[in-house]
């Protein structure tokens, strides 16, 4: 009803300082929740990208192969030794999560780079790979096909241009970002099929056929641990299951960081829920005081024939307007804070090559709407109980300021 809504609005205007403080408190609360939820989601998404870029937890290579220990396990090492391609899928390994098989051959006179330059050609399974493709800085707007190659950041060729490898034309499908891992920087990556198709051309150059190009064989596997599994468990399981293999463990702190950060984000979420709950209690306490102060007005409304629902409605509408405005202001505040965040921390992170993936606009709008609705609901719930209690009192007691 227009008059009751107008009464609610006028009441907010009557106590400007109190209304302002209420709106400010709700604005801060919902601003924190909106910003926190958006940033958490963005950090979560960024972590998903960042962690995939951290590479594998361990590498499984043939026992006699020489391996370099690098900060991040992104590729296997070039070697003449091979493993069976199904070595890790023959037996179930509970401690092993994802497995990415790779083939690598080091070639000369390939037509890439200088004449005598040694080039590492990597074969990957695009469906299982989790160490190469997350680093794609740019790529064609389609899936990787036979005849496509991906270039490491140290190689320069325009996207979509043709690259001759052993005289055969290939298309530059994508380019990787800088990793600091040598093999990754200088490598040329392609699907197993594309690499296999080069075997004939390599033989024509007079060299022996690399063992890695033998069907059913791979140079090694990059392995990600199953959630909760330790490197020791996986190492023991793999060595028991695969004969003639060795397990090279990467930086073990990375999996710890991955698991720790997830737990931290859960903790932050719990704190935000607690904060919202305390805001609800605060609004309820405040409206208890407001209802007490306005007993006379409520009594008068009751005396002239307001139904209980109308009396409660007036108070609830008043609370919803105040907390809803607080919610809108909070979201606006949150957007400003995130803008600041974008200009400082995100800018810094991106400058040092750490990706930060902002939440997409529809989801951010949904978070904003949810924060405003939640703020209004807190107002409604906070006012509901004290208003309902007061509306049940005798009109005469309320008019006299009792009850």
């Amino acid at each position: 009803m227009r008059l009751l809504a107008s009464l609610a609005l006028q009441n907010l205007g009557r106590r400007r300082a109190r209304s302002f403080l209420l709106i400010a408190a709700v604005a801060i609360g919902s601003g924190v929740v909106f910003t926190g939820a958006t940033l958490m989601r963005s950090i979560d998404d960024s972590m998903a990208v960042g962690f995939t870029r951290l590479g594998a937890d361990m590498m499984v290579a043939p026992e006699g192969a020489l391996t370099n220990i690098t900060a991040a396990l992104l590729t296997v090492e070039p070697t003449d030794l091979v493993l069976d391609a199904d070595a890790l899928s023959k037996v179930p390994l509970a401690s092993v999560g994802r497995v990415a098989p790779q083939k690598v051959v080091r070639v000369e006179h390939s037509g890439i780079g200088g004449h005598h330059e040694l080039v590492d050609l990597f074969g990957i399974d695009p469906a299982r790979d989790f160490t190469i493709q997350p680093w794609l800085r740019e790529k064609l707007n389609r899936e990787l096909r036979a005849g496509d190659v991906i270039l490491g950041a140290g190689r320069d060729a325009p996207l979509g241009s043709q690259l001759l490898i052993f005289g055969k034309p290939h298309l530059v499908y994508g380019k990787l970002g800088r990793t600091g891992v040598g093999t990754h920087e200088r490598g040329v990556f392609m699907s197993f099929a594309t690499l296999a198709a080069l075997a004939g051309s390599m033989s024509q150059m007079g060299g022996p056929r690399p063992a890695a190009l033998t069907p059913g064989k791979v140079t090694g596997f990059l392995v990600e641990l199953a959630p909760g599994a330790t490197p020791q468990q996986a190492r023991f399981a793999i060595l028991s299951a695969v004969k003639g293999a060795k397990v090279v463990t990467g930086d073990s702190s990375l999996s710890g960081i991955r698991q720790g950060l997830s737990a931290l984000l859960q903790g932050i979420l719990a704190l935000m829920v607690l904060m919202f709950a305390s805001m609800a209690v605060m609004v309820s306490v405040l409206f208890s005081a407001i209802v007490t102060e306005r007993r006379g007005e409520l009594g008068l409304l009751k005396a002239i024939g307001a139904r209980r629902a109308q009396m409660v409605g007036t108070m609830v509408v008043e609370a919803m307007i105040a907390t809803g405005v607080g919610g809108v202001l909070g979201v606006t505040l949150g957007v400003l804070v995130m803008r600041l965040y974008e200009r400082s921390l995100v800018y810094y992170l991106e400058n040092i090559g750490v990706p930060f993936v902002w939440l997409d606009l529809p989801r951010m709008a949904a978070f904003a709407a949810a924060s405003i609705v939640l703020a209004s609901m807190i107002g409604a719930l906070g006012a509901l109980y004290p208003a309902w209690r007061a509306s049940g009192r005798d009109a005469y007691d309320l008019v006299r300021g009792e009850g």
């Binding site: 009803m1 008059l3 107008s6 009464l7 006028q10 009441n11 205007g13 009557r14 007005e297 008068l300 409304l301 009751k302 005396a303 002239i304 024939g305 307001a306 139904r307 209980r308 109308q310 005798d394 009109a395 005469y396 007691d397 008019v399």
Partner: protein
């Protein structure tokens, strides 16, 4: 019009049970002007509140225009207060954030019996009749206490109540304003035929009534 039978009201306080009204029987026929007189704390306002559906009696029965008031449901009781009874309190009882015309129109708008335009036309006419035609858009704080009281009478009359209850309506007003307010109330009683019950401790005002009920210590003494 108004019938009370063995109406009592007791409060539980820290000092024990306090009886404000004890087993009162009262009859006020339709169209009559009755005055309830008594000293402060005698129970006259409590009796009026029970008669008008504002305060639930601890015991007894209140009937207004054939309706057993305290047997009504919550919503029916709200409708009863809205349609059958008009109140004029002993203090300025207008909502400070609404204009005079909104204050007067509010009970009719709550009842939703008429459209907004008809209600506002009637509210304007009532304010005009109370001599407040120039203050339709004024806020209560912008007019005098006597004018506020007249606006409260206009509000009490907006739904054509069968019973008008006035609880010491001139208690804090000067003599001239008191005369004006009483004139308005008597005119309503006489010309419209609205039953008027006036609660007062002022014997001179009570003497204008057709029926005087004297209450002391919660019981009718004369």
């Amino acid at each position: 019009m108004l019938k009370c039978r063995q109406v009592s009201k007791s409060y539980r306080t820290e000092r024990g049970l306090v009886t404000a009204v004890a087993g009162v029987d009262l009859d006020v026929p339709a169209g009559r002007f009755a005055a309830i007189i008594g000293r402060s704390g005698s129970g006259k306002s409590t009796l009026m509140a029970m008669a008008g559906g504002l305060s639930r009696p601890s015991a007894g029965m209140v009937e207004v225009d054939g309706t057993d008031v305290w047997r009504l449901s919550d919503n029916a009781l709200a409708a009863f207060r809205n349609e059958k009874v008009g109140y004029v309190f002993q203090f300025a009882s207008l909502l400070p954030t609404l204009r005079l015309i909104d204050n007067v129109a509010l009970p009719a708008m709550l009842g939703r019996r008429h459209g907004a335009s008809g209600t506002y036309a009637r509210a304007a006419a009532l304010l005009e009749r109370m001599g407040l035609g120039g203050y339709l858009d004024a806020y209560p704080a912008e007019i005098s206490a006597g004018e506020q009281r007249r606006a409260a009478i206009a509000r009490a009359l907006i739904n054509d109540p069968a019973l008008l209850l006035a609880d010491e309506p001139t208690s804090d007003l000067d003599e001239q304003t008191e005369i004006e307010i009483m004139d308005v109330l008597r005119t309503v009683n006489r010309e419209v035929g609205t039953t008027l019950v006036l609660v007062t401790h002022n014997l001179a005002l009570a003497e204008q009534a057709q029926q005087i009920v004297h209450i002391a210590n919660g019981a009718i003494v004369a």
